[in-house]
Symmetry: C2
């Protein structure tokens, strides 16, 4: 029986549609009998079918932050000009995930291993079969969305005209792998996790809380906390606070505790193994050398686990690409768009990229 979790509903996340891409063979082995993707679209596909933008989602995120922070009339991602397709990644709680799988052979702890490459292949099939889209004006995504963006640009170079990986790498680093492992362990070590066969995410609140506590360290920055920037950021209850531990509990803990443990683990496993070189024999330079998209590589300056140096090293291996560093006091969580200056900088770069001839 699928677990009901109100966090993963249109009431909380805003509207989306479910699309099936049918039977789906996974790169790590195994088959998903019927792969359902949760998709939100904005704008209309034009007659030439050349105004499509794809946005894959990040760890624990959904289409909602993109809708609220990045997409809008007059913005770079403008639904009056573009057909914007946000595809929730496999295992994110809206698309097929361990807790919502009706098929008992893949439910909960039986959910198969999914790779970044699986998401990208499923998205390619979805775009083709559901929307008739063969080429993308832009693929843009943050964090794990950047991993998928890189994978798209390497795997389907003829389909991706422009790419903007924000705060994420093409090949995950050992440091990032080890970081993600601490997130995984925070959850699996909770006795309530029960090997993935809990009855409700409410049974795993301690583990989800510890998982959130690690995010509060690695997802943000020393300046975010020391400056008191958070004092103006509403917690989930809409209130603000002068106490940093209360903010941590009321924002970060409160948010992650709404989520499904197996969903987070599915995404975590996938994140750890993101690697565009995997499908072509392990040579990162050769993989990135395949890219023909006009690419802006956009790390966030204070990011602690997709740091500028790691992103810049990949940018240098990517033909015709440019490095565009985004400033945010919030580090990786700058992706949430706390600062108008960050959002404007993203818009400026994406507008320039979309205007670039390809």
């Amino acid at each position: 029986m699928p677990i009901e979790n109100p966090f993963y509903s249109p009431d909380v996340q805003g509207p989306y549609e479910l699309y099936s891409v049918g039977r789906f063979e996974l790169e790590d082995g195994g088959v998903i009998p019927d792969l359902t993707l949760a998709v939100a679209t904005y704008g209309e596909l034009n007659a030439a079918r050349d105004n499509a933008i794809l946005i894959p989602t990040w760890f624990s995120g959904t289409h909602q932050t993109w809708e609220q922070v990045y997409i809008g009339p007059g913005r770079a991602l403008d639904p009056e000009r573009h057909f914007i397709v946000v595809v929730n990644q496999i295992g994110n709680g809206l698309s097929l995930s361990p807790h919502n799988a009706a098929d008992p052979s893949i439910a909960m702890s039986k959910f198969p291993r999914v790779r970044i490459g699986d998401d990208v292949r499923a998205q390619e099939r979805l775009l083709r079969e559901a929307f008739g889209i063969e080429r993308l004006a832009l693929v843009v995504g943050g964090s794990m969305g950047a991993q998928q963006t890189w994978e798209w640009a390497v795997r389907f170079p003829e389909k991706v005209l422009r790419a903007a990986p924000i705060a994420g790498t093409a090949q995950n680093t050992p440091h990032d792998f080890l970081f993600t492992q601490t997130l995984v362990e925070a959850i699996t070590s909770d006795p309530g996790f029960a090997g993935g066969e809990y009855a409700s995410h409410l049974d795993v609140q301690a583990g989800l809380g510890r998982h959130a506590d690690i995010w509060a360290v690695m997802g943000l920055s020393t300046e975010f906390w020391k400056s008191g920037f958070w004092k103006a950021v509403p917690m989930l209850d809409g209130e603000t606070t002068e106490d940093f531990e209360e903010f941590q509990a009321g924002f970060i803990r409160a948010l992650f505790r709404l989520m499904d443990p197996n969903a987070l683990l599915t995404m975590g496993w996938k994140w750890q193994r993101g690697d565009v070189a995997r499908s072509i024999g392990g040579d990162l330079a050769a993989a990135l050398g395949r890219i023909t998209a006009k690419t802006f590589v956009m790390p966030i300056d204070r990011d602690m686990f997709f740091p500028v140096a790691d992103c810049e090293a990949e940018q240098r291996l990517t033909p015709g690409s440019e490095l565009r560093v985004l400033p945010s006091i919030a580090g990786h969580f700058g992706l949430f768009g706390f600062e108008p200056s960050y959002v404007e900088e993203v818009d400026r770069n994406l507008s320039e990229l979309l205007a670039a001839p390809v």
Copy 2:
């Protein structure tokens, strides 16, 4: 009954002496009936009693790393010229700690809260009563040892001629507090921890392992892991490896799993609350303004939780101080002295500091 843990023995840690400073009232309330400090000394106190150097220890560390990496003839910390006193911090497993307290009223979970200021006052008493030392040519320490160094320079300005806080701050930041909290939770969440009343550290191996896994992320750096630097670093068994997960398990996990959980928690609580301004009303600028020592503030360039920016902000508030950034690919764990270039840079700075007129 004190718990026997062979890690905390002269066989493993090298020779040290136990000194009692007697009955000791703690800043957070409570009393230690008989406070015993584990002390290692190198060299001889001269007749003028003006060649003494004090080294307080870091989280989870002992005098041993200082002896092996930083002290030696011809070095800046030269036992042929100086009388070097390394005092193991309270709760580090060698000095009085929860697991070795013979007095049941302060054993294990009953161990009182100890602050950085307690260590510094206990060290001041020890130096005076046991060695007749009234002034220090230098106080130098790394990480929590830097916290103690700062506290010494603020609290006893007339006694500290020179100070060198390496990779540590005078006032702990919220980010650092939250980081340390994840270390604490990794241990206390282990059912084997039993509220601090475990029978052996072997009962808490899962929690100690998760604690170590977080260290592997925050204690090192993305470059340390990505570069393969660790391939040349022997694990605890003396072997090297080509696999980063094996190195993580064989070095970092293996090391922290030898330690006592309550000892780590005692130090963690203390670390979280390091603040030189606490004893004089909370004004950091006023506290640092008290310092008369010639001070070199020495952050490590890739440190993820005592980052250069946080150390530099304090350096600017410290009269007559200088910022000396130390390079290390190993981030905070550069303190272990993996690189000759790091060790040479520390020596160069400490030699210059010791030669400076005061």
